[in-house]
């Protein structure tokens, strides 16, 4: 049973930050080849700024109505409640698949080519069901341990590549055009999904401050910048020819004769995806049915599994499910939807939010 005690917003935003950072682990290298490092940084800043803008409708709703979008919709008439629930359920299923597919692909291609990806998915989703049934609070508590592990992995990954760094005069050049800008910015928009998760779960947190999402996105930006920096100046052109550049970064890391940092990368990616899918399943539970969470979680896990199996055998389905444009549009709508709550909703009397802002 989930623990219903209101929990710290710092921990919630930490979990969201980890979710945003884990995107970096699973992203394929789709940045423009012609752009320079500084240009990529500018694109990253623009991308993360848009991510922050996605937070604003949820923040306004919280401030003005004192509730998250899902809680507000449950108090609305059925003709509003049902479409909102269906939309968010679809969104979270899509998002879960959007991260699950590259993870299993990466796992299957880099680690265990002999194992069926469907088997990996079944085991992973089984574990996610257990976590999601325990509730958001417990998943965010898990986030603290994941944070420590992520710190260790990052230290090993970046520290192990320090000796390979080669900085040249061209490091500070500015190169790129408008087409590159959009291509790169789209790459950095993926973490925006955390704004939607925030919009759906923020009624359960206490002591929220505006600086918390700013910090979460700032540290996500730092992680992005560090990864880009090391990929460009330590791994170099080799990384651009490879899938999953962060994986390459972990593989090239070494301390004298000691290597094998990719095992830490594997562990971090696994636990991150586990946390993201668990969080998304928690969101689905909130969207559909707050009371019977076990039944809802199992039902949506089966839907996830079915969709994954279809994508494994039908390439066009996989294309749709991993299309970044569809994901960004979907995320944009999901992030903007709380604005409608400002027009329709009434001020909440939820006690957890009285002292929150």
């Amino acid at each position: 049973m989930p623990i219903e005690t209101p929990f710290s917003s710092k921990r919630f935003l930490l979990a969201l930050m980890l979710a945003a950072c884990s995107v970096i682990l699973l992203q394929n290298n789709s940045l423009s080849k012609n752009s320079s490092f500084l240009f990529e940084l500018a694109c990253m800043a623009a991308g993360l700024l848009i991510c922050f803008l996605c937070f604003i409708p949820a923040l306004m709703l919280r401030k003005m109505r004192g509730a998250d979008i899902l809680r507000l919709s449950t108090r609305s008439p059925a003709f509003i409640k049902l479409p909102v629930a269906v939309f968010y359920a679809c969104y979270f299923v899509y998002t879960a698949l959007y991260f699950l597919i590259p993870y299993t692909d990466m796992f299957h291609s880099k680690y265990y080519p002999g194992v069926s990806p469907c088997l990996i998915t079944v085991v992973l989703l089984g574990c996610c069901v257990y976590a999601a049934v325990k509730g958001v609070n417990v998943v965010t508590r898990f986030g603290i341990f994941l944070f420590l592990f992520a710190m260790l992995t990052n230290i090993l990954m970046f520290g192990g590549n320090l000796t390979a760094l080669e900085l040249t005069a061209s490091s500070v050049s500015w190169q790129g055009n408008a087409g590159d800008f959009w291509q790169n910015t789209r790459y950095f928009l993926t973490p925006a999904f955390i704004a939607v998760v925030f919009a759906c779960l923020n009624a359960d947190i206490r002591n929220f401050r505006l600086r918390q999402p700013v910090c979460a996105l700032f540290f996500t930006g730092l992680k992005y910048a560090a990864v880009l920096f090391f990929i460009r100046f330590a791994v170099g052109a080799y990384a651009s020819r490879q899938e999953y550049p962060t994986f390459v970064l972990s593989r090239t890391a070494h301390f004298d004769r000691f290597a094998g940092v990719e095992s830490f990368y594997l562990a971090l990616a696994t636990m991150s995806v586990f946390m993201i899918i668990s969080l998304l399943l928690c969101c689905v539970t909130k969207a559909i049915d707050r009371e019977k969470n076990l039944r809802t979680v199992i039902l949506f896990t089966l839907i996830l599994l079915a969709a994954y199996t279809v994508s494994a055998y039908l390439h066009s389905a996989k294309e749709i499910l991993t299309n970044p444009n569809i994901f960004i549009i979907f995320t944009g709508i999901a992030a903007l939807l709380p604005l409608s709550g400002l027009i329709m909703g009434r001020k909440s009397n939820v006690p957890t939010l009285v002292h929150s802002m």
Binding site: F107, A131, R141, F142, I144, A267, M271
Partner: protein
């Protein structure tokens, strides 16, 4: 220490409230004798001595005791001798009983009562009951005297510095050990009875000003839910004290045999449960980080205590993960093992007939069997068994090529590390086996996922409403000074710890 008279009176009062039918006596010695023989089925230890008092009206009385529970010398001096000598003249039975209570009996504790149920409780508690034929009241004299183990150092919690006293079996001795250390009137002992047949007495012990009222109420209600017929040890109650719907892998109930440890916990707002007949005292709520704290930590230098504590955490991780990681790396990811170790490990493993997972699993099970045998065999045989274990299973199995030396080293290291935090041995053992199997089936990926599930399980666990992983997750920076580190007493003394004030605790803070 609470007066034994009040102590027994407490039991009686509680029992009265529970009894739906109270049998009123006519206090005929003959009837009582018949009643008791029927109740105790002519048990050999029921002793009823009938005596004729010195009186003109021919008063008779009976002294009822249970063999072995009374101090016969004390009984003779404080009850029988004065009774035989005193001249009751022509007193009626009721007046004689009152005179015995007020002027004759020399016992320090003397109680009056009226029912057979009370009589049974008194005699089974070591009291001598005096029944004057025809009187309305009966008298219970406190003449308890039974053999019990003296206060000695607990073998399971040995310390380098600090007290050598440990709890013993009698309830009142244990209460006195606590009261001697905690002279505050705020220290309260609250009595309950559990076990419909055994009628085991237990004491809830807490500091009135520090405990949470809601915590106390929750604990009482859980103990009242206990429907066991017999409670012969503290462990019988553990399951009733655990929170519902939380993992049972790690225990949310602490156990200690040391009065100083229990006193320390009481000052943090915890509640101790002393069960009669067992030296193990239960403490609730129990948190994960407490498993790594020891009495010696607070006596040693700060830097050394911190070092030892970090060693304990490291040992815990080695004990749980080492065999599983070894299996996963050897079977699925040998490329992650440094080459100079890999060569030797691969060479050793190639000479053994079993797969590495089976090898490690088998050795772990053999070790568990040897451990159980070692705990139970007589001391005179222990030396021989240890030689058999070390030479036959260790040396010979490696020489014969049945197991590899690296496997033996991994299993032995994990086994030794598991005793650094001895209270966590059951979950360590269970998790170790799980990780060996998971590592053998799914490699590092399986271990990572299993670890995630275990962490989720730990994070969702609560002990009487307090998150089991408190201080770590939910994180509390202020409480970190006594988690991985042990800061100086000056710094520790600045803030008081109340268990009900831990973040996200589901109990009220008031007492």
């Amino acid at each position: 220490m609470r007066c034994p008279v009040r102590f027994i009176r407490g039991i009686i009062t509680e029992k009265r409230s529970k009894l739906s039918l109270v049998i009123l006596l006519k206090n005929s010695v003959k009837e009582i004798k018949l009643n008791l023989h029927t109740r105790f089925a002519d048990s050999a230890d029921l002793t009823i001595r009938e005596i004729t008092l010195k009186s003109t009206s021919g008063l008779t009385a009976a002294v009822i005791t249970m063999e072995g529970l009374v101090d016969k010398e004390q009984l003779a001096q404080s009850v029988l001798n004065p009774l035989m000598v005193y001249d009751f003249g022509s007193m009626p039975p009721q007046k004689a009983a009152e005179t015995i209570q007020n002027a004759v009996a020399a016992a320090a504790d003397l109680l009056t009562f009226t029912t057979v149920d009370e009589l049974v409780t008194y005699i089974t508690s070591g009291f001598a009951v005096l029944v004057v034929d025809g009187a309305e009241i009966m008298l219970a004299a406190g003449t308890q005297g039974y053999a019990f183990r003296s206060v000695s150092e607990p073998e399971s919690e040995v310390v380098q510095r600090g007290s050598r006293e440990g709890f013993s079996e009698p309830l009142r001795v244990n209460m006195s050990l606590l009261r001697r250390r905690m002279k505050s009137p705020e220290l309260v002992f609250e009595q309950l009875t559990v076990g419909s047949e055994s009628q085991t007495q237990l004491m809830l012990c807490y500091i009135q000003s520090k405990v949470s009222g809601q915590l106390l109420e929750t604990l009482r209600s859980r103990l009242n839910e206990c429907r066991l017929e017999t409670v012969l040890g503290a462990g019988y109650l553990s399951d009733y004290l655990e929170d519902k719907n939380t993992s049972r892998l790690f225990s949310g109930v602490g156990i200690s045999e040391r009065p100083d440890t229990v006193c320390g916990k009481l000052t943090e707002g915890r509640i101790a449960i002393i069960v009669d007949g067992t030296p193990a005292v239960l403490i609730v709520p129990r948190l994960f980080v407490e498993e790594f704290q020891g009495v010696d930590d607070y006596s040693n230098r700060t830097y050394y205590a911190t070092f030892i504590r970090l060693l304990k955490y490291l040992s815990f991780f080695i004990a749980v993960f080492l065999p599983g990681l070894y299996v996963a790396l050897a079977q699925f990811h040998p490329e992650y093992i440094p080459s100079f170790i890999l060569i030797k490990t691969a060479e050793a493993l190639s000479q053994t007939p079993l797969p590495v997972t089976m090898e490690v699993l088998m050795m772990t099970l053999v070790y568990e069997i040897m451990k159980e045998a070692g705990l139970r065999i007589p001391k005179s045989l222990a030396h021989a068994v240890s030689i058999v274990g070390a030479l036959v299973i260790g040396e010979s199995a490696v020489t014969a090529g049945i197991i590899s030396s690296s496997t033996l080293m991994v299993v032995a290291t994990a086994a030794i590390c598991s005793y650094v935090t001895a209270s966590l041995y059951p979950p360590i053992m269970a998790l170790r086996l799980v990780f060996i199997v998971v590592g053998g089936l799914a490699g590092l990926w399986g271990i990572v996922l299993a670890t995630a599930v275990v962490i989720i399980s730990l994070c969702s666990k609560t002990s009487l409403g307090v998150p089991y992983m408190s201080s770590l997750s939910p994180f509390s920076l202020r409480r970190m000074r006594d988690v991985f580190l042990r800061v100086s007493w000056k710094a520790l003394g600045k803030h008081t710890i109340r268990v009900q004030k831990f973040p996200e605790t589901e109990v009220d803070h008031a007492h």
